[in-house]
């Protein structure tokens, strides 16, 4: 059983500064692919390193397989880690790199070679590469060697620290699916750190969103997308990002683009209950529907980004400063400068507390 638990885990670098990781509580199931996502400084890498044993815990504890490993050194935690810059041993061959941990464990040469070759095959690393040194390899090959080094150990947990960030875009997309497939095949519990929410959404069974050292929400990708628990998660997950506007409350709803937009009942109740005179309204780009003149929200197109299948319209709504982004049909999008109107379904609206960012819902 290789589940992972963070129990109120904290890391503080200097006294009287905000914690890098603040009392993190996370339960990761055996065999699960958990992604830690967030902007830089959110504490995701620190949290991963705490699990690895490379950062001490200033509070709380970490468990692997129901065993408290808080004070256990990295080598005794039965984990393997893929580093952001791969951290391959420069003077060793690929085979020696991959077999290093086994050598440290005292595994004999034959067994080491067998497992290295097996891992190499799994990762599509040609046998001829086994005798090369890292500097002779391309970026993608090095990345695979780094993964091979981790796989060979057959650990209880895989830790990955932004392993795709140094690859070019196309390779990244390819390798993403390979990693997901590999994890599925091997069934090893994986904790994966990234700042790229697309990676998080496509790879993780569950995704934990962090910001400023605090866990914002941990749920499946779909759940995060459809039910963000606060403004941060709503604005972070989804590309292009959710449109967020601070709007004043008026009779019957909120005022946006010189129009009164009626709010769904539950939101109204929550807002009134909190005594708010304004709130942050969130609408996803695909929920702004182009209505030929019949929509409630008028605006002018200031930029059209054509993506082929769809187009993204940047529109300045009447009476607002910052533009909103709307998704439209790719075939014949409105022209630059055109005057358009949008309609939006009440059920597609999100509302957040203007100060705390918490979701206002029923």
């Amino acid at each position: 059983m290789a589940n992972v638990k963070y129990v109120s885990a904290s890391r503080v670098y200097a006294k009287d500064t905000p914690p890098a990781v603040n009392a993190l509580d996370l339960d990761i199931q055996d065999g699960e692919f958990m992604v830690l996502v967030g902007p830089s400084g959110s504490g995701k890498t620190t949290a991963l390193r705490m699990l690895a044993g490379l950062e001490p815990l200033d509070g709380g504890r970490v468990e692997i397989g129901d065993r408290d490993v808080t004070f256990v050194p990295p080598k005794d935690r039965d984990i393997a880690m893929v580093f952001q810059n791969y951290a391959l041993y420069p003077q060793k061959t690929v085979a020696d790199n991959m077999g290093f941990a086994l050598k440290m464990q005292g595994v004999n040469k034959e067994e080491r070679d067998r497992r290295v070759r097996e891992a190499a095959r799994l990762l599509d690393l040609d046998d001829s590469l086994l005798d090369r040194k890292p500097k002779q390899l391309s970026g993608g090959q090095r990345q695979r060697v780094a993964m091979g080094r981790a796989i060979v150990r057959e650990p209880q947990v895989f830790l990955m620290d932004e392993p795709l960030s140094n690859l070019d875009a196309k390779l990244r997309v390819q390798t993403r699916s390979q990693i997901a497939e590999l994890q599925h095949r091997l069934g090893i519990t994986t904790v994966y750190v990234t700042h790229d929410q697309v990676e998080a959404m496509t790879m993780g069974h569950r995704v934990a969103v962090l910001s400023g050292g605090n866990l914002q929400q941990c749920a499946s990708p779909r759940e995060l997308y459809e039910n963000p628990v606060n403004q941060f998660v709503a604005g972070f997950i989804g590309s292009p990002a959710m449109n967020l506007q601070t709007v004043p409350m008026v009779d019957g709803g909120v005022e946006l683009a010189n129009t009164v937009l009626p709010l769904p009942g539950p939101i109204q109740t929550a807002a009134k209950g909190a005594g708010l005179s304004e709130l942050v309204l969130g609408i996803r780009p695909e929920h702004l529907h182009l209505a030929n003149g019949a929509g409630e929200l008028p605006g002018d197109v200031i930029l059209v980004e054509e993506l082929g299948a769809d187009a993204l319209l940047h529109v300045r709504l009447a009476g607002t400063d910052s533009p909103v982004v709307a998704r439209a049909e790719g075939r014949r999008p409105p022209a630059l400068g055109a005057h358009v109107t949008f309609s939006v379904q009440p059920d597609d609206m999100f509302a957040f507390h203007p100060v705390t960012g918490a979701r206002l819902a029923g």
């Binding site: 080598k75 393997a80 041993y89 003077q91 290093f100 941990a101 464990q105 080094r149 390819q174």
Partner: protein, 313 residues
Amino acid sequence: MTVVEDLAPTPRVEVKPRGADRRERWQRRLPLLPALIYIVIVTQIPFLVTVWYSFQNYFWDQPGGAHWAGVSNYSTVFTSAAFRSALLRSVEMTVAAVIIAMILGVAFAVLLDRKFLGRGVARTLIITPFLVMPAAAALVWAGPMLDPNFGLLNWLLEPFGVHHVAWLSTHALGSVIVVMIWQWTPFMTLIILAGLQSQPADTLEAAKVDGAGAFATFRELTIPHLRPYIELGILLGSIYLVNTFDAVRLMTNGGPGTSTTNLPFYLYQQVNNAFDVGGAAAAGVVTVILTIIVATFALRLFARVFQFEEAGS
């Protein structure tokens, strides 16, 4: 699982401009010329003159100047026990000093690599022997440190059963080598320290995760990484240590007997005491030839050191 094989990166090749090729080449050579010409004149001319004199009989204290002597000076050198002994001594002293200084250098560098209270001051103290004038170092060690009756070392070693040892008489060679090591360990330390600090931190972390303890990490990762630095230190250190003169002249004057006479001191004696310019010149030429042989051999071994400093632009 199909993978689009990514191409290995092509090395950057410096584009030499065509067309204005010849002019460009001379423009590039021009800045080099002053230093080149200067060095050639100041080092090669004396060397050529040395070769000339090596074929002459020329004694300062005798009237008449220089006479052609053929290869008699050379046969004297090759049959001279004194020359061979000085050569042997040079090799002994240089090898011992370089190796021990390097070992100490690695040890000190490892100590200085960790953070501790007052690390900067400790480093300053360790560097100082390199800054001390070699002549001063020789005299201070010979007198205040190693004197049999008043020296500090004897006093420090007294609890260990050492009594008033006359270091420069009984352990002359060792004493000289100790001073050589004392002065050059800081140099080795700094070069190795540079190597230690250039080691990427994440590979050390990866080793931790992979189960390597401190010794294993040092053996498997750090020493291979330090190899070019160690070679650089040995190369540069040898170049300077083989020419050690001050310590020999001022501590033991080559003695007792000739037990500490190395090549530089031997040549000095030939010129200053024997006034034998021809003989000294021949011995000098032989020394140079031997040095070239050893150096070529060593550089082939240490070719890495030059690749180390590849021109990037």
